[in-house]
């Protein structure tokens, strides 16, 4: 199948998947009862509760509520977030940028470190360095993020005081404009080096904590696929041409080993995205994950709906992109279903 056809097909399925997801999630949010709680206080009387219900259309049957919700989505209204005390759409872009910045930073850590470690280990199979990296990567995939993050926090924030928590020094943050919402990029645009350093500084701990698990996954995949590739004939053939070991490894074996690794990187994105919930709680990163966690604990269903929907759309798109990249990288396979 041609890549173009494949993309078109997948894009055509996408809306149905999203619709399906929205129905499932909406149905689930209403199984647990009405989401009115977030808007109430224990001092309200029944009449006041009824008034609140009417304000949010929660006095209607569930399918009608779903209709209201969908209608709202098309009008750019995602509901009122009780946690953020503002309409979801108002708060979302800022939080989204924060989360993406963190996820991308963690992704960069994970991808570069994971590929480097995997290549290093795969090329030195069964040597000491390989064993060390294997232990690190297996433990990385089993490490509870919440625990690891706490340890980092204690060591680097409390004991050593090297890295701050939160997203930024508010004074520096306020000092520059935020056209993109990505603090690092905004700082570059503003040409403010202090703000840039501040942004990077705040990113280090959460990105490392979050990236560790993903690094492990990528390193593991990279190692095994590199070992597989190194046993292929073309590697011997490349050596038989007289190429240097390094060239054989990097240009020939690693390049092909990257192909299956790319799919894993795609999956890793989901892993990172869900990891942001925990990392953002612990490192006080003001992103979607932290918002979601608060929403979960306080029953803020407008936020939960938006977050789950958005995450899954993002996840679907990333997977599609990964598939396309994969198809472009791997000359051996044709795209199918």
């Amino acid at each position: 199948m041609q890549i173009k056809d494949y993309i078109i097909r997948r894009l055509m399925i996408l809306p149905f998947l999203i619709l399906g997801t929205s129905i499932i999630v909406f149905a689930l949010t209403r199984i647990g009862g009405s989401p009115i709680g977030i808007y109430l206080s224990h001092e309200m009387n029944p009449a006041e509760v009824q008034e609140m219900k009417e304000r949010f259309h929660l006095d209607k049957p569930v399918p009608i509520q779903y209709f209201y919700w969908i209608k709202g989505v098309f009008q750019g209204d995602l509901g009122w977030s009780g946690v953020a005390s503002a309409p979801v759409v108002d708060v979302f872009p800022k939080k989204f940028a924060a989360t993406m910045e963190l996820a991308i930073a963690a992704g960069i850590v994970a991808v570069s470190l994971g590929i480097a470690m995997g290549t290093f280990a795969g090329a030195r199979r069964n040597k000491l360095s390989d064993h060390i990296i294997r232990v690190v990567s297996v433990s990385g995939a089993s490490m509870p993020l919440f625990w690891f993050s706490i340890l980092l926090l204690i060591v680097f924030w409390v004991w050593l005081g090297w890295f701050p928590i939160g997203r930024s020094d508010p004074n520096l943050f306020e000092a520059i404009a935020h056209p993109t919402g990505f603090y690092t990029i905004d700082a570059v645009i503003a040409g403010n080096f202090a703000a840039f350093k501040d942004a990077i500084w705040h990113l280090v701990m959460p990105a490392v904590a979050l990236g560790y698990g993903a690094t492990a996954i990528i390193a593991r995949m990279m190692r095994s696929s590199l070992i597989e590739e190194l046993q292929e004939d073309y590697v011997d053939a490349a050596k038989a041409k007289g190429l240097a070991e390094n060239v054989v490894l990097k240009k020939h074996a690693r390049r092909n080993a990257l192909v299956p690794t790319v799919t894993v990187i795609g999956l890793t994105f989901g892993f990172l995205l869900q990891g942001t919930v925990v990392a953002e709680i612990i490192f006080r990163w003001p992103g979607l994950g932290r918002w979601m966690a608060a929403a979960v604990l306080r029953g803020d269903q407008a936020t939960i709906m938006t977050y789950v929907m958005f995450t899954s759309i993002l996840f679907l798109i990333v997977n599609l992109v990964v598939d396309v990249i994969y198809a472009n990288l791997d000359r051996r396979v044709e795209l199918g279903d």
Partner: protein, 310 residues
């Protein structure tokens, strides 16, 4: 060159011989291959230790009455250090015995992972089999549903569901079941479709076996290895995700569960009370690590791709 010949024989094993004996010898060989990997053995040892700890929890520590899954709370002995008489690993902020939490947390984890894995396995295998065998429209519809479920990252999905159902341990189990069955359905469907096309299934058809017979005798047993690998990995993952949900605050109050204990104990770390969250956190890590090691070992054996060339 005798060795080479032997290898050839194994490769040329007649594939339509579905006799029990062949399967048994093959299983024994698989077992020996699994045990040949030292990391797998380490994993297996930890798994056995963990499971025995869970099973013998009532013998190791005296169960709390009336609900043994609740931490026994000695409020006035809160925040005791390890090796305090009666509290070998110290106590939590609520005076819960950390050792009790560690031991009974294993039981909670075992309960959680076994329940979730067995439920998701059954649901997933049934749905995957139906899709694989029926094919056509049924397959299409089921797989689109699977796609929808797969499109939401699992922790986030579980988080949302658990949040909606309300914080309790049962609800965490339910949430994880809703999230985790999809993988099995996918794996099972792929296996069924693959095996359906094999010769021995045709052979059995010619011999007049019914569809159900073929499914039970040929397809099901032969498609189980990847499902088992996934199940083993999930035994670890589920505890990891479950503990994360508990950590975020979706479990019952006062329950003996590792994630809850880590969350309760984290504030104390800076004040030097590292024990209340370190031990349970370590347990989550070891549990996940052990099952990951075993699962990886199994996958190495079952998955021919990783078989090394000479």
């Amino acid at each position: 060159m005798a060795l080479v010949d032997q290898k050839k024989i194994i490769e040329n094993e007649p594939i339509y011989d579905s006799a029990f004996k062949v399967r048994l010898t093959r299983n024994l060989e698989i077992l020996s291959n699994v045990l040949a990997n030292p990391t797998t053995v380490i994993g297996l040892i930890i798994v056995i230790l963990m499971i025995s700890m869970a099973l013998f929890a009532p013998i190791i520590t005296e169960p709390n009455t009336p609900d043994p899954y609740q931490m026994p709370r000695d409020w006035k002995a809160a925040r005791s250090a390890p090796f305090t008489p009666g509290h070998i690993l110290g106590t939590t902020n609520r005076g819960g015995d950390v050792f009790y939490g560690v031991v009974w947390g294993a039981r909670t984890s075992l309960k959680l992972s076994l329940l979730v894995v067995s439920l998701t396995l059954v649901v997933g295998v049934i749905i995957g089999s139906i899709a694989g065998i029926a094919g056509g429209k049924i397959d299409e519809v089921l797989m689109r549903i699977v796609d929808v479920f797969l499109s939401i990252p699992e922790l986030i999905f579980a988080l949302a569901i658990a949040a909606i159902l309300g914080p309790s341990f049962t609800n965490i189990i339910l949430a994880l079941v809703v999230v985790f069955w999809v993988k099995y359905a996918r794996i099972m469907r792929a296996q069924v479709i693959r095996i359906k096309q094999r010769e021995y299934v045709d052979a059995a058809k010619i011999m007049g076996a019914s569809n159900l017979q073929i499914y039970l005798k040929d397809i099901l047993p032969n498609s189980f290895s990847p499902v088992m690998v996934q199940a083993t990995l999930d035994m670890g993952n589920i505890v990891l995700v479950g503990a994360t949900l508990s950590f975020i605050g979706l479990s019952e109050a006062g329950i003996a569960e590792w994630g809850v204990l880590v969350s309760e104990g984290q504030a104390g770390i800076s004040a030097g009370r590292w024990w209340a969250s370190t031990f349970p956190g370590l347990m989550v890590f070891l549990w996940a690590l052990a099952f990951n090691l075993v699962g990886d070992g199994l996958r190495d054996v079952f998955d021919p791709r990783t078989e090394t060339k000479r």
